[in-house]
């Protein structure tokens, strides 16, 4: 089903935000809409967005490539994006990330064998006083988890695995 069929209300709201002669502005919010459900932008969604906004598919692809929160292929359902930037690292983020790798049995950039969690290391998320912290990007949006411990993180991973299985 096309985006416009699936989310008619949202698409209309998005387009209304920008002057009609600059509807290209809607490309970023439409890409977020396209990522709902699957967690990445499919080829057909790319084509549809390009047509709707009178831009080329190459232009849409180059936007996806430029911004780190857009994805063009399927990975773990939940992207656990741990901040290991300077202020967090001064408060133990590197150690937290290393221990997390050990507990999950994967390296940064890899996905757990069941396809639930992809572990990533990211730049500052504007929560530097609450390290260690990470965000979880899922098909439903982004959620912050702050002042975390390994134990609480592993509990969360278990919960995600359960909800992932139910969702299937």
């Amino acid at each position: 089903m096309s985006l416009m069929e699936k989310y008619p209300k949202e698409v209309k709201q998005i387009l209304a935000k920008y002057p009609p002669e600059f509807k290209r502005s809607a490309v970023m919010p439409l890409l977020y809409l396209a990522q709902r459900g699957e967690g990445y932008v499919t080829k057909s969604a790319m084509t549809e967005i390009a047509r709707a906004l009178d831009i080329t598919e190459t232009e849409v692809a180059s936007i996806i490539g430029f911004y780190t929160l857009y994805h063009d292929k399927k990975e773990g359902r939940y992207r656990m994006q741990v901040c290991a930037d300077l202020p967090c690292a001064l408060r133990g983020a590197d150690k937290f990330l290393a221990e997390l790798c050990g507990n999950l049995g994967i390296r940064v950039g890899e996905t757990t064998p069941d396809g639930t969690v992809t572990l990533e290391s990211v730049a500052c998320l504007a929560a530097c006083d609450k390290a260690p912290m990470f965000q979880i990007q899922s098909p439903d949006g982004i959620e912050y988890h702050e002042n975390m411990t390994i134990d609480r993180t592993m509990e969360l991973v278990e919960a995600l695995k359960r909800s992932g299985q139910e969702g299937r």
């Binding site: 970023m28 919010p29 936007i63 911004y67 780190t68 929160l69 504007a126 006083d129 965000q135 949006g141």
Partner: protein
């Protein structure tokens, strides 16, 4: 002193519409639209001495007066990209005191005759954007945003626009490109946004914290605001304090306190009471300050921090103690800038790539030639990049090697 920006710390539930309203909320905007000319609002902000809180400290009222009145429509953009490592103040404002920020955006829009304003949030602030959308809807419902406000001809709509993970989109012209649905790469200037900005039209861009000041200035008067702070820097500033301190967090202080007040007073001192070593006052883009007594007793305002060979920037104060090597800090910042360089201009694209390569070599096997090469690459980049990111990437490198030579084996 009661808070001026972080007022939610004094008034519980200030992010609830009724509570904000009961505490004098929206009066400044209503009063301005009904009784003041736009120029009067600009003059009040000018006379208050308010300077932009996004990094450069440019006088806000003056920026507003630069808008080209021969070209219409006008736009207002709030910069809520907040991606400088160490900065986390705008998020607290938007989550806890959102209406004061939105009222500031509305006042700014009225002042420059804009009928549409955009709030550009970093993509990670997905929940914050949804929260703001609800607050905006509440204001529309109460007749504070929309058509013909308060029985006048003035109309205003505020929209949120989410970025998608790119530090460079905090740079104001890259931000405009991003709202226009393009890759976030800086524009060549001039023209500057007050002449040619969003959709090719005159545009004012200010930081979230800058806007949050405006309702208080209009409500209490420019003289009141100017009486707070120092002659160089009027008013209050939110300092995001992070790193090796006991109590990291946001602290709102009038300009004129010292680094010692901030780090040892508010921040409770250094973890495990260890000796302080260095301060980065403006996040990862900072120069290093050697944290000796002279520095700790330096007054926090734009001009005074400059006497230490650094900029106050967005006041994201990262504290480094004696357990940390400056070489390691530089390594962290270079990973960041290599990743965030947008690639549009060669000195920055190539320079960040080389600096990261060299610091990685130094990490594994420190050679004097490599330290010299790192320093030279940084020096060669300075003054040659299209936007300030390229310059930012060199600051920790050059000042780190100059001011902490022992950490590089010199």
């Amino acid at each position: 002193m009661a808070h001026i920006l972080l007022r939610h710390r004094d008034i519980p539930n200030l992010n609830v519409f009724e509570v904000y309203k009961k505490n004098g909320g929206f009066e400044a905007f209503k009063n301005a639209v009904k009784t003041m000319k736009p120029e009067d609002v600009i003059n009040a902000v000018k006379n208050s001495g308010l300077r932009g809180r996004g990094g450069a400290g440019f006088p806000t009222g003056m920026k507003w007066s630069f808008m080209d009145n021969k070209s219409w429509p006008h736009y207002v953009v709030a910069n809520a990209d907040e991606s400088e490592p160490g900065t986390f103040k705008d998020r607290e404002i938007m989550e806890q005191n959102p209406f004061q920020f939105l009222e500031g955006v509305a006042l700014g829009s009225y002042a420059v005759g804009a009928h549409a304003a955009y709030i550009y949030l970093r993509g990670e602030f997905w929940q914050v954007a949804a929260f703001l959308d609800e607050r905006i809807a509440e204001m529309e419902k109460a007749g504070l945003l929309g058509d013909k406000l308060f029985g006048t001809e003035y109309s205003l709509r505020i929209h949120t626009h989410l970025g998608a993970g790119a530090y460079i989109c905090g740079e104001e012209t890259a931000l405009l490109e991003s709202i226009e649905g393009k890759r976030g790469q800086p524009r060549v200037r001039p023209p500057f946004p007050p002449a040619v900005g969003l959709f090719g039209k005159p545009t004012v861009i200010n930081n979230v914290e800058t806007f949050a000041n405006v309702p208080m200035i209009l409500a209490n008067g420019a003289d009141w605001y100017k009486s707070i702070g120092t002659a160089d820097s009027a008013g209050v500033k939110i300092f995001s304090l992070s790193g090796r301190v006991k109590k990291p967090g946001n602290y709102e202080l009038p300009f004129g306190k010292t680094f010692r007040d901030l780090i040892y007073g508010e921040g409770g001192g250094i973890l495990e009471d260890r000796p302080i070593k260095a301060i980065m006052p403006a996040g990862a883009s900072s120069s290093f300050i050697v944290a000796d007594d002279k520095a700790l007793d330096t007054v926090l305002d734009y001009a005074s921090v400059r006497t230490l060979g650094a900029d106050l920037g967005s006041a994201s104060v990262i504290v480094i103690d004696d357990t940390v090597s400056v070489e390691w800090v530089v390594n962290k910042t270079l990973h960041f800038f290599k990743h965030e360089s947008c690639g549009k201009c060669t000195p920055c694209r190539e320079g960040t790539y080389w600096m990261l390569n060299v610091i990685k070599r130094i990490e594994h096997n420190r050679q004097a030639e490599d330290v010299s090469m790192l320093y030279d690459v940084a020096k060669q980049m300075q003054g040659k990049c299209l936007c300030a990111l390229g310059e930012f990437a060199t600051m920790a490198v050059t000042t780190g090697i100059e001011r902490f030579p022992a950490d590089f084996g010199r």
